[in-house]
Symmetry: C2
Subunit: 431 residues, 2 copies
């Protein structure tokens, strides 16, 4: 029976999971795919620490060249993460004629153009199912299952850490700080959690989703990003009273000739599926022109979940290799109808707004007056407490407005003597 | 450029959709897949009625042999539905060395063993993405995306018609009859709606899901089936008050060495994603051992949605054909740990029960007594109205009980003089 040899670069949590699955499901997979996936070599800087899977010492190496230069190795699985030396390893592996499986969203988001071009040039494949939504087969679904579709909307909850924090705040009345501490305790958040809570990881994943749906690798700097660290428990609770949950959404929207790409906290109406996605779960809601509105949901993290995706990529590659099949840059086709990215100033959205105002007559009239001058119309307004001469929250939902107009109005409002804190504005999605 | 020739058998709604997509996306698909999908011939009994897509008359034929015997045709797309002559056409096409795409769940559910065996024997593929969940790539996800996983649970809302009816009852207070009439008016239900509302279509789809997850083609007669025609608006509303929605679920559960396969109305707690699936939408909730709990959601019907799935199968087949690749019976592997199917008598479930009892002292004591004798424990009980000496509903939720025990208890209770109607029992899912 034909054997496909794999070199594993990175023997951490997900790497160990891949080894576990390939070992435990050896016969299972062989019977399914008709050939054997053999781990030929495992590279890591650290080859002495105990893993939760035992491997023969002879498989382990601290020398990446033992993998990259081994002509018997057909596929390199890159799971070390980070940009360097992951990038150099992948480039070297492609040049040596190997196919690639990676879970490295940061690398592909940042250096995708170069890497995909090299793969194309060498007629090799880079598969990356584990890079978005862990075990959820979202990449395969967009690329193959929906191959005939054009897309116009992606709304994703793609960062499990942020979603866990927001869920703890909403369901258990935790403050942001307490929820973050709990996420760290449970191992869902890093010591420095900024990559997750500031929306950076979500933006990396958005770049990959946009690439698959619209054929463009947008630059990280083109994405408008707002994290969740400014979200207060008060806003979560006020939003809830109004029938909404606040989620960190990655959004790509095609409208006429423009594409919006943004990551920010967003109010979603209860009843929409995305509002029920809690904890570390991820979900990607995709609007396509033929298959309609689809949702893909599952755990967004976890050793075996991510490893499940890596193994599915491996299986696909074994079939490609056996068939001598090269799938050019994942069948990506540029959506030519998109002429430019829309700047955040120009997007239109409904907004949830909280003003902190002194509780005295005439304040609301002033606020409404300024909004009206900017052409912004109010859908609902509630004063949350009564407290003579004290600062109280006024919560407002406004109808569709241009971001730039809203910002200008808020600046003017924040200059009022009666306004005692910077006003909070959170975008909403109708869906 | 290489051309793959397709013979379309059945030029109805979905067939026209396939023609539309292949025509409108001709360049789009060619650039993605590197070859051309050409519709060589279209068979239908009726080739004169106007379709919503124009085709050259020379493409149309009333003679199926023009497709089955044409050596230039690589793939036969069967979209006539029903058992005969669809079955004969597929057999003939396989024997003539053609690959198959079909949306025919009834046929595959009933004759899958024979058809898949023949395909295996001839080293040809039968693809059927459109047979479950229309454009939702559920088949591909189970088969390829989750290739390394073992499954233990499937909960599906796979019949759009039933789900539309139940949603109308729940959201708009329609009676079953009125909701069905509306579904018929909108074209979501047939004149004879029994295939949909009696759970038969759901059972066909369950057979295919079970095949993909557990490697077994169970018999239709092995599935316990209850439709939705007995669901009353009252029960929907009582369930809602208790925090549940009633959905027609297709269920497959592996427990120890047994597999449960059943289709019936089920109470699902609000907050679970499946409870938010409304209208003609479908969703399949799958529990796997590596990738965890996943949900796939999308429109369960519609011309272009189903055609989108057919075209994705066609695209996959073009790659298989180009590569000379045969994927043996869709990489199906029998789950040997399953020794037998569990009979409905032996399943355990929580239940919602509604008794119609004369409102007088001692009735509840009698009911509870009988339940207690059968070892059934009550979680909650509410008498819904007060009306001296009149019949009033008593709604009860009971803890996990064996179906057989519950049925025996209900029979005994229904013999009480104070019970004036057959009691209603609806199963619940925790999820």
């Amino acid at each position: 029976m034909k054997k496909i040899n794999v070199g594993l670069v990175g023997f951490g949590n997900v790497g160990s999971g891949v080894v576990k699955i390939l070992r435990q499901r050896k016969t299972f997979l062989r019977e399914k795919i008709g050939l054997e996936i053999n781990i030929q070599k495992i590279y890591d800087k650290d080859i002495t620490s105990k893993r939760d899977v035992d491997v023969d010492r002879s498989l382990l190496t601290r020398d990446s060249k033992k993998i990259l230069n081994d002509p018997q190795i057909d596929i390199v699985v890159e799971l070390i993460g980070g940009i360097h030396p992951a990038k150099e390893y992948i480039i070297e592996a492609l040049k040596k004629g190997k196919n690639i499986v990676t879970a490295n969203k940061a690398l592909l988001a940042q250096n995708g153009k170069e890497l995909f071009a090299l793969a194309q040039d060498r007629q090799k494949n880079i598969y990356f199912e584990a890079a978005v939504g862990a075990g959820i087969p979202i990449i395969k679904s967009l690329r193959e299952g929906l191959v005939a579709n054009k897309f116009y909307n992606i709304l994703g909850i793609v960062n499990g850490t942020s979603n866990f924090i927001l869920s703890q705040m909403s369901n258990n009345n935790f403050t942001f700080k307490a929820a973050l501490a709990q996420a760290q305790l449970k191992g869902f958040a890093e010591k420095d959690p900024s990559l997750d809570i500031e929306g950076i990881d979500s933006a990396h994943k958005l770049i990959l989703l946009v690439y698959l749906c619209f054929g463009r690798l947008v630059n990280f700097s083109d994405i408008f990003i707002e994290g969740i660290s400014q979200i207060s428990l008060a806003d979560i609770n006020y939003a809830k009273e109004l029938g909404f949950e606040i989620k960190l959404l990655t959004i790509a929207k095609k409208e006429k000739e423009e594409l919006e790409v943004r990551v920010h906290p967003t109010l979603i109406p209860r009843g929409h599926l995305l509002s029920s996605v809690t904890g570390i779960f991820n979900a990607i809601y995709v609007s396509s022109d033929l298959a309609g509105n689809l949702l893909f949901y599952g755990p967004g993290a976890g050793q075996l979940s991510a490893a499940s995706a890596v193994v599915s990529d491996l299986v696909d590659l074994t079939q490609d290799i056996r068939a001598g099949l090269f799938r050019p840059t994942l069948n990506i086709r540029v959506d030519e109808s998109i002429k430019r990215l829309r700047r955040i100033d120009d997007i239109e959205s409904r907004y949830y707004i909280r003003f902190m105002a002194v509780d005295k007559p005439g304040v609301l009239a002033k606020i409404s007056g300024i909004l009206a001058q900017s052409g912004i119309s109010i859908a609902s307004v509630t004063q949350k407490e009564r407290s003579k001469a004290h600062v109280v929250p006024i919560v407002m939902i406004i109808h569709e407005a241009k971001e730039k107009n809203l910002r200008q109005a808020l600046e003017a409002i924040d200059r009022l003597a009666a306004i005692k804190q910077k006003s909070v504005a959170i975008r909403m999605e109708e869906v």
